[in-house]
């Protein structure tokens, strides 16, 4: 039961809204928890995994708190040296618990996601040296959304250790934070501090919230059903026939996949945020007009924001502020100068972040390459930034100069499309073959691009489907431009007269019901990020 499916939208969501409202305030969080468990079970039988994670972080958080409280009680009785020693001991013990807890979470994640991949690669490495290791692993489990709630669990534990949040004594509240049904499958990766209290508040439904949530859900469905599910066929055609593709078709495939991924992922996040909004719960945003980014760094501040925020908070800063990186920075500064130190420390902090980002998406070399690709791009951007600033000064241009801004956006698009070309590929071989096709062989197909695109047997799209794609993209581009210019279109519609509001809703619904890709002739396209 995915978020875009009729079972969720027409049965599960209305049912939970009714049951939630019928129950008294005190019991509503439990209603959410029960429905969240049911939602999980409808998608995966491995509910034991998030339950185990919940129990683990609950116990670890409580233990950290207990150690601190015990220490606080003892502190007044001690002299200065004793206090220092106790503080160090407390820090050491809490640090140990945090590390062990996180290692267990990462261990479970590794077992579910990466064990087969690792064993396969170990076997391959040994076979290169003529050793047939033939290590085998039995069937592992793969609970849905494990990559998402594992990070949430780790984040909670580190926050408790950093004293940013108090350890939660209520395991059910923690369980709801981990399992909350709208976000368990696709994120956004929320922090305990921002969401747990809201989830447990049990506030009653409000028509304004339902109205706002519905708008968001309709927008999400529009992105998925008008554009993403149709483009999936173009993309599938290019990648399934990668050995004999034309350069232009490869570029078209990469661009189509990027648009498909944006429409699908941001669309499903719209449904997620809209569902939560109906219940009066505000989840963090995950996208902010990514295709208007001026460079790759800017793109990652706008694309999958919650993942970027997580890695920035819990990995990038941790590495940047570590003693060893600081020491190297100091050394480089002395021996090679400020610039080299800046580039060197950036490289040291960025490399683990981007390898982890790549691997987070799944056990595949294409994802690792994807992470490494962005590491190189971002490092290059950091390295050339001082020179670019000088050049901009000399040419008397700024990032706001229209032609320069447009040039930067287009340049960023090329970076994004190239990255997604590799991201979508099943293997590195497939990605490299496709990439090679751009520069070698015929660029345009002899049959003509339009003939291929409307070939019913190859792509299964009709001319009218391309009109729907175009129309859908235009609508979303207009909405994104309005958001970028902070025109608050959604707020204006929501606060506008009822006639305007309902007209917009009905127009969206009619567009979906008439032009949407569903029913006979369309196979439901599964959510891409639900597989991570």
């Amino acid at each position: 039961m995915a978020y875009h499916e009729n079972l969720y939208l027409l049965v599960f969501l209305p049912l939970i809204l009714i049951v939630y409202q019928v129950f008294p305030k005190k019991l509503r969080p439990y209603v959410l928890l029960v429905f969240s468990c049911l939602f999980f079970l409808a998608n995966s039988k491995w509910i034991i995994v998030p339950i185990l994670l919940t129990v683990l972080i609950w116990l670890a958080g409580m233990r950290i708190e207990k150690i601190r409280l015990d220490a606080e009680q003892k502190l007044p009785e001690l002299d200065k040296a004793g206090k220092k020693e106790l503080k160090a001991e407390t820090e050491k013990r809490t640090h140990r618990i945090m590390i062990i807890g996180n290692l267990i979470i990462l261990g479970i994640l590794f077992y579910a996601q990466y064990l087969h991949f690792t064993v396969d690669n170990v076997n391959r490495v040994f076979s290169v040296f003529g050793i047939d290791l033939a290590l085998k692993v039995g069937k592992t489990f793969f609970p849905i959304g494990i990559s998402f709630y594992s990070l949430e669990a780790i984040g909670y534990l580190i926050d408790v250790y950093w004293n940013k949040v108090q350890a939660d004594h209520n395991p059910f509240r923690l369980g709801l934070f981990i399992l909350f049904f709208p976000q368990v499958m696709e994120g956004p990766i929320a922090s305990y501090k921002d969401t747990a209290a809201q989830l447990w508040s049990g506030e009653g439904l409000k028509v304004d919230n339902i109205s706002a949530g519905l708008f968001r859900i309709l927008l999400g469905l529009f992105k998925k059903m008008m554009v993403a599910d149709r483009l999936a066929r173009v993309v599938g055609c290019v990648y399934n026939n990668y050995t004999d593709m034309y350069g232009f078709m490869v570029i078209l495939g990469a661009v189509s996949y990027t648009i498909q991924l944006y429409m699908e992922f941001s669309g499903s996040i719209d449904i997620v945020i809209g569902s939560a909004e109906m219940l009066g719960i505000k989840l963090p945003e995950n996208f902010r007009q990514p295709f208007m980014a001026q460079n790759a760094a800017d793109f990652w501040r706008r694309w999958h924001i919650s993942l970027g925020t997580w890695f920035r908070t819990y990995l990038f800063y941790a590495v940047s502020m570590s003693k060893s990186v600081k020491a190297i920075n100091k050394k480089l500064r002395k021996s090679r100068g400020k610039y080299a130190a800046m580039v060197g420390t950036s490289a040291m902090a960025l490399l683990p972040v981007w390898l982890a980002t790549g691997l987070w998406h799944g056990p595949s070399w294409t994802y690792i390459f994807y992470g490494f690709y962005y590491f190189c791009i971002l490092l290059a951007e950091t390295a050339i930034q001082p020179y670019m600033e000088k050049l901009e000064d000399r040419l008397q241009i700024t990032a706001k100069t229209p032609w320069y801004a447009a040039l930067n956006i287009v340049r960023t698009w090329i970076v994004i499309f190239t990255g997604e070309l590799f991201f979508r590929a099943k293997t590195m071989r497939q990605a490299l073959v496709l990439f090679k096709h751009i520069f070698t062989g015929s660029f345009f197909p002899e049959r003509g691009v339009w003939t291929i695109l409307t070939d019913q047997k190859a792509i299964l799209l009709e001319k009218a489907d391309y009109l729907a794609i175009l129309g859908g993209i235009i609508v979303i581009v207009i909405i994104d431009i309005c958001r970028e210019k902070d025109l608050k279109l959604r707020e204006k519609i929501l606060q506008g007269p009822i006639a305007l509001r309902w007209s917009v809703y009905y127009l969206l619904i009619i567009a979906l019901l008439v032009f949407g890709a569903y029913g006979s002739g369309f196979q439901a396209v599964e959510l891409i990020y639900a597989g991570f």
Partner: protein, 344 residues
Amino acid sequence: MQFKNGLFRIAGFLAGLIIILLLMGVIFSAKRYYPTGYIQDRNSRHAMLTCEKPEQVDIINVGDSESGTGFSPMAVWEQRGYTSMNIGCDGITMPEAYIVLRKMFRTQSPKVVLLETNLFYRNGTAKLVKSLVAEEFYDLFEGLRFHNLWKFCWRERDSRLLFKGYIINEFVAPYTDSPDYMKPTDQVDHLDFFSEKWMAEINKLCKKNGAELVLWSCASPENYWMAKHNGLQEGADKNGLTYLDCNLNQEAIGLDWSHDTSDAGNHMNCFGAEKTALWLVDSLDDRIDFTDRRQDPAFADEWNPILDRYKETKVVMDGYYTDIISDEIADYIQNGGDFHQPGY
């Protein structure tokens, strides 16, 4: 605004939505577009049901692609004079079969419902529930089912013809393995909970409407084996149903695996479908009082021209698969006059 105060507003919004859905049904109407050939693929059987004159058929055949490709109503009309319709379609689920039968019973009163059994082994709880929700909505608001008609401005007309639900396929791809694939065994692939439940529900629906439900399995080495047959026989016995298995009666049917399958034993082609359909009705003939309507002008005037066109199309399509030949059929039809589905 608090929830209670807004209930009227929510009700008003939903009422508006229902009006939109009903209007969609008027715009995307099967009655208007089916005869013109713009309604394609799976939906065409639903459209046919909507357009069919009431009380036309004695035999209804339903099931997945095994059923859709394995039963030719025109052969039954030509050889026996019984009226039948094929409403089987690709990948049909049990709830979908139930709902399409429910729809059929609104206008037709068949004596027998032939239910091809392959659908009982294509399950998955979530899939079934999703299918049930979707089909109930499609049944309530027909415009949703035919919403893709908006594309017709840019679409060439469908050149595939439905002959009372059957699409001619004369492509031959022989099955070359042993025809003795039904090796006797005591093993039983039991029907699961949902299959048993839906079988009972469909049986109840048929009984309520005065029709006898008969289970049948199309001959298909790809889809059938003995343990599966045993499971289906067990299910049929539990519900007191007749079960006819073509896989065990290949000789009686006269199947020739070098000629009667279009994809090496997965599905029947037109030749196999004709033989199968005749064997099925003959197997029931002694128990069920089918009426030969060939001399009844009320039926003959409608069915004979369709039979003529069926025969003509078979000549044109000799040796071809439906989709490959479609342009040629389109020419043929256009030379013959206005495009229309046979019988409309």
